[in-house]
Every structure is written in structure tokens, then in C-alpha cells.
């Protein structure tokens, strides 16, 4: 209980500081914030200046500005986009489904592939299959995701014509079809990490005495793995999977750009290119919050799922 409270307090403190960094960043820009926020000097009309000053309460002290901005953001009001002249929250709401669908599909892929390869690796420990899996997944993780994405487009969309070249699709099946390649591109890097952790955790469990005992009693290998190895091994695997998903929620920028998916990541890149700072702030804040909340949640839920950790905590 105390552990959970301090963890949550720590998360909130970090969130406050990082949101302050996101807000106050505009003061680090060369020139004064008004010129920075307007960007293009041609747009420097008195109305525009007034609009910007009102949106950011620029005539107040910095800490008050931040407070007003943060409390508005807390209620889901991120101001108005300078580019689209639309509330930022609305923009985000239209972009989120594509990003979430992409992350969900990529998660399914990397969990199945990563855990599967990890288990295979652990069972063939030290054999050729093991080293091949390690080498192949590590190699795949060294290829930048934008290169993987473009290669997939070239092979499966352009040469074979199996998948569309870009877009996120409408409706469930069409979306699955559109997001298949992007999801693969997003998942490839994660497979290496997850299979590595799975292998490690399995190998540790395989060498335990109770597993040896169960094996000597003649328990069927499949049952042995399921009941005695995987059940104890899945703690670290689950933690890693959650961490990867958390960073994916904030890491779709590149893949969305490659495949022209109008998700949140693409929104961020476009906002930087068009100098639309309210949108940049909102997207960054959303990504940081999601990441922090998911990672904190993992920390809190983990001991509930695995009583051994709680026991260890008490002892220390």
C-alpha cells in the first residue's frame, strides 16, 4: 500500500515536471514566445498576436501560465491548433483510433512471435535453433523501422500488390488489411527484446530443482512447460511486454510517416513542420502521460500477479 502510494506520488511529480518542460520549452526558443508561437513573420497581425497571447495567457507570470495551461489540459482542453483552426483535442480524437489500432495489431504480432521464439530458443538452449533465433532477431532489431517499412511496401504492396501502399483504411477488415504491413514494421524491433527476455526467464526456470523433479517423475514435456516453467517465468515477460507496448504508444511516429497513416504520430511530425506548437505540446503530453501511466501500472500490478515479489519486498 505504501509502496503503491509512493510510486503514484513519484509518477505525478515526474508528470508535473515533464509537463512543465513541455510547456516552458517555448521560452527556450530564440526570440520571445509570441514570435515563436506565431512562427511565420507574415502572420504577425495584431489579431493573431492577441489570439496567441490569450490562448497562452502570456501577460501572466510563467508559473500562472503553466498552471492555467495544465488545468485546461487536465480537463481535455489543449487549446486551438494554429494550423487547422480546430480544437486540438478534436484533432487528437480523430487521429487516435488509427494509432491505437496500429499498436494493438503490432502488439499481438510481437507478443506471439517474441514469446514463441523465446520459448523455442529456451527449449533448444545452446543448439543451432537457439543461436539462429538470437542472431536473426538481433539482426532484425538493428534495421531501422523506416527501412523495414519501406522494404515491406516495396515487396508486398508494389511488387506483389497484396497490400495497399498507404492509409489506415475504413471499417474493421479494411483497417486490418491496411495496417498489416505497418504493424509488422512496428513489431519487428520488439520481437528481439521479448524473445530475449522470454528465453532468459525460461532458462532460469528450467534449471530449477522442482522442474528437474517433475521431469524425473516422467511428466510430459508439454505439461511440464505449461504448468511448471511458463507459470513461473511469465512475470518478467509480462513486464517487458507492457513496457514495449507503452513505448510503442509513443513510438508510432516513424511507421505512420512511412505508411502515410494519419495517426497521432503523423500529427506530431506535421505539427512540427507547420510550426503548430499547441498540437506539438498536446501530442507530447499525451504520449508522456500514456507512457508514464502504463509503466507505473505495470509496477503496481506486477506484485499482485506474482506473490513471490511481495514476499521478497517484505523480507528486504
Amino acid at each position: 500500500m505504501i509502496r503503491a502510494a509512493t510510486r503514484i506520488a513519484g509518477m505525478i511529480l515526474t508528470l508535473v515536471v515533464s509537463s512543465f518542460v513541455i510547456f516552458a520549452a517555448m521560452y527556450a526558443a530564440p526570440g520571445d514566445p509570441v514570435t515563436f508561437l506565431i512562427g511565420n513573420p507574415e502572420n504577425m497581425t495584431p489579431e493573431r498576436v492577441a489570439e496567441v497571447k490569450a490562448q497562452y495567457n502570456l501577460d501572466q507570470p510563467l508559473i500562472v501560465q503553466y498552471g492555467l495551461w495544465a488545468s485546461q489540459a487536465f480537463m481535455g482542453n489543449f487549446g486551438t491548433s494554429f494550423q487547422y483552426h480546430q480544437p486540438v483535442a478534436e484533432l487528437m480524437a480523430t487521429r487516435l483510433p488509427a494509432t491505437l489500432a496500429l499498436v494493438a495489431m503490432a502488439s499481438v504480432l510481437f507478443i506471439v512471435a517474441g514469446v514463441g521464439l523465446g520459448i523455442l530458443s529456451a527449449l533448444r538452449q545452446g543448439k543451432r535453433t537457439d543461436s539462429t533465433i538470437t542472431a536473426a532477431t538481433t539482426l532484425a532489431a538493428s534495421v531501422p523501422s523506416f527501412v523495414i517499412g519501406l522494404l515491406l511496401v516495396s515487396i508486398f504492396s508494389v511488387q506483389l500488390g497484396w497490400f495497399p501502399v498507404s492509409g489506415a483504411g475504413e471499417g474493421f477488415l479494411d483497417r486490418l488489411h491496411h495496417l498489416a504491413l505497418p504493424a509488422v514494421a512496428l513489431a519487428v524491433g520488439a520481437v528481439a527484446i521479448v524473445s530475449r527476455v522470454t528465453r532468459q526467464s525460461m532458462v532460469e526456470q528450467l534449471s530449477m530443482d522442482h522442474v528437474e523433479a517433475a521431469r524425473s517423475f516422467g511428466l510430459a514435456p508439454a505439461k511440464l512447460i505449461r504448468r511448471h516453467v511458463l507459470r513461473n517465468a511469465w512475470g518478467p515477460i509480462l513486464t517487458m511486454v507492457a513496457l514495449v507496448v507503452a513505448s510503442m504508444l509513443a513510438g508510432t511516429v516513424v511507421v505512420e510517416s512511412v505508411f502515410g497513416i494519419s495517426g497521432v504520430g503523423k500529427l506530431l511530425v506535421d505539427a512540427i513542420n507547420t510550426h503548430d506548437f499547441p498540437v506539438v505540446q498536446a501530442v507530447l503530453l499525451y504520449m508522456v502521460i500514456t507512457y508514464m501511466v502504463v509503466t507505473t501500472l505495470v509496477d503496481l500490478v506486477h506484485p499482485l500477479l506474482d506473490p513471490r515479489i511481495k514476499a521478497k519486498d517484505k523480507k528486504s
Binding site: G10, T14, L15, V17, S18, V21, A25, M26, A28, A29, P30, F36, S121, G126, D130, S131, T134, A135, T138, L139, A141, S142, V143, P144, S145, F146, V147, L150, L151, V153, S154, V158, Q159, V165, A190, A192, I193, R196, Q200, L243, V244, A246, A250, G251, V253, V254, S257, V258, L268, V269, A271, I272, N273, F277, V280, L284, M287, V288, Y291, M292
Partner: protein, 287 residues
């Protein structure tokens, strides 16, 4: 910064020792060739980096153009070699910057403890709250695009990571008896850190930095691909991939494949060397 990226992968030796030796030597040789090509670019490259030739656009690899040409007939092999300079110097500069700050802060935090240590912990906490390249993206949104901004921003993101690593190494080092021996003799803290502790941290730090180099190269290439890093007419590899992107729909894969494969090959080689280096240096360090 990115606890989930290549540096976490670069551990647990599964592959046999002999094979690892071969991989290490091959990687080292490959990297030496790449560095030599980058250094000697104007002499090695058959064409200038931006020599446009509209009579030879989108050529497949052949005798005239070893790796083919792009949409305006620029020789990909030559662009690759010229681009190697920026692609390799970028991560080097970023690591140099991040190391100077990171090692200083990490050592001071370990030596002094107290509020400096606490501050470092808070800063790393905030940095880790920005997953992936998001902190860098924020800096670029504020200061504008360009290779210099990208490098400085990444250095800012890496410095706390290096500081944290240095801190843990330095704490272990300070527990060793020779440090007390010098202190008893009245050797000052600053002198002791600079003359004895930091040099002793170099071996394990070096292997880590080599692996970070690969990560930095990927990050910089990614930023250039997004249009935030290197700008045309540079032939930085990430930018080359981005420029090759337009040809893909028309079925021209070489302008994307060539720089993409170059990035991947260098990152793999760097990781192999980095892991091997830290293994070897660590074992000497521990002995």
C-alpha cells in the same frame, strides 16, 4: 532514454566463442573499411556526391554504377561513401558531447552524493518519462530542424543515461581500498577523481559507448528520415532513404535499399564490436 533499444539486446552470449571471434573480426574489418572509405571519400568515390545525370536515372547496379542510381541519376555508391562522413561523424559528435557531460555529472554525483546526486536522479527520471525520441522531437520543435540541433538534442538525452551508468561504476570503484589509501594520504577529491577513478572507469564505459554509438547512428538516421536532421543536398544515409522513398511506388528499390542496408550493417557491426569490447575489457577490469 531508450531502455528498450539495442543496448539491452547486446548481452547474453548465446553463440559459441569461435563464431563470436569470427563475427568480431569480420565486424571490425568491415567498420575499418567503412571508416577508410569515409575518410578517403573524394578519392574513393567514382562520382561526386551530387553529380546529376539525367541520362542514367534509376539504374540497377551495374558496371557504370556499382550500386545503381537514384531519381536524378546520382551514383548511389558515391553518395553512400560521401554520406558516410556525416552519418558517422554525427553519432561521434553526439557521444563526445554526451560523454563529457555524463561522465562529469556521474562522477560528481557518486563522489559528493547529497543534492547533486538527488538532482541527477530527478533529471534522469524526467528524461525517462519521454519515451524514445520524444525529448529530441521537443527540442527540434523549439529550435528548428537541422543536423546540429538533432545532435545536441540527442546528446542532451544521452547525457543522463551515461551519467547514471558512470555513477554506478564510480560508486563501485570508490569502494575499493586504494581510494581510501589515497584519501588517507591527503589526496584531494578532484585530483583523485580525475587522475585515478575516471581512468579506471574507462574500460567498461568504452564498451557501453560503442553500443550507444550504434544506437545514436540509428536515432540520427531516423531523425534525418523524418526531415528533422540532415538537410539536402547532404547524402546522410537516413536522408538518402527518405529521398529514395518516392521511387518505391514505381518499383525502384535500390535508392532505399542501399543506404538502409548500410545503416543496418554498420549498426550490427558496431554492436558486435561493442559487446565483445565490453566483455574483454570487463574481464580485465575484474581481474
Amino acid at each position: 532514454m531508450s531502455s528498450l533499444s539495442t543496448s539491452t539486446l547486446a548481452s547474453t552470449p548465446v553463440i559459441g566463442k569461435k563464431k563470436r571471434d569470427v563475427a568480431y573480426l569480420l565486424s571490425l574489418g568491415f567498420l575499418m573499411v567503412v571508416v577508410a572509405a569515409a575518410l578517403l571519400a573524394p578519392w574513393v568515390a567514382p562520382y561526386a556526391a551530387n553529380a546529376v545525370d539525367f541520362t542514367a536515372i534509376w539504374q540497377a547496379p551495374g558496371a557504370a554504377h556499382l550500386l545503381g542510381t537514384d531519381q536524378v541519376g546520382q551514383d548511389l555508391f558515391s553518395r553512400l561513401i560521401h554520406g558516410a562522413r556525416e552519418s558517422l561523424l554525427g553519432p561521434l559528435a553526439l557521444l563526445a558531447l554526451a560523454t563529457v557531460f555524463g561522465v562529469t555529472i556521474g562522477t560528481v554525483a557518486a563522489w559528493n552524493g547529497g543534492w547533486i546526486d538527488g538532482l541527477l536522479a530527478r533529471i534522469t527520471d524526467v528524461m525517462f518519462a519521454f519515451p524514445g525520441l520524444l525529448f529530441v522531437v521537443l527540442v527540434i520543435a523549439v529550435f528548428g530542424k537541422g543536423p546540429a540541433t538533432a545532435i545536441v538534442a540527442l546528446a542532451l538525452a544521452y547525457a543522463p543515461v551515461i551519467a547514471k551508468f558512470t555513477r554506478s561504476l564510480a560508486l563501485a570503484e570508490m569502494a575499493r581500498p586504494y581510494v581510501d589509501a589515497y584519501r588517507v594520504q591527503g589526496v584531494g577529491g578532484f585530483f583523485l577523481c580525475v587522475r585515478y577513478i575516471i581512468p579506471n572507469l574507462t574500460p567498461p564505459l568504452l564498451g557501453y559507448l560503442v553500443v550507444l554509438f550504434g544506437e545514436g547512428l540509428m536515432s540520427l538516421a531516423t531523425l534525418s528520415f523524418l526531415g528533422f536532421g540532415a538537410q539536402p543536398p547532404s547524402s546522410e544515409w537516413g536522408l538518402m532513404v527518405q529521398e529514395g522513398q518516392s521511387g518505391i511506388i514505381q518499383g525502384h528499390i535500390w535508392p532505399t535499399l542501399v543506404p538502409g542496408a548500410a545503416i543496418a550493417a554498420v549498426v550490427v557491426a558496431v554492436n558486435v564490436v561493442g559487446v565483445r569490447l565490453s566483455d574483454r575489457l570487463n574481464s580485465r577490469f575484474e581481474r
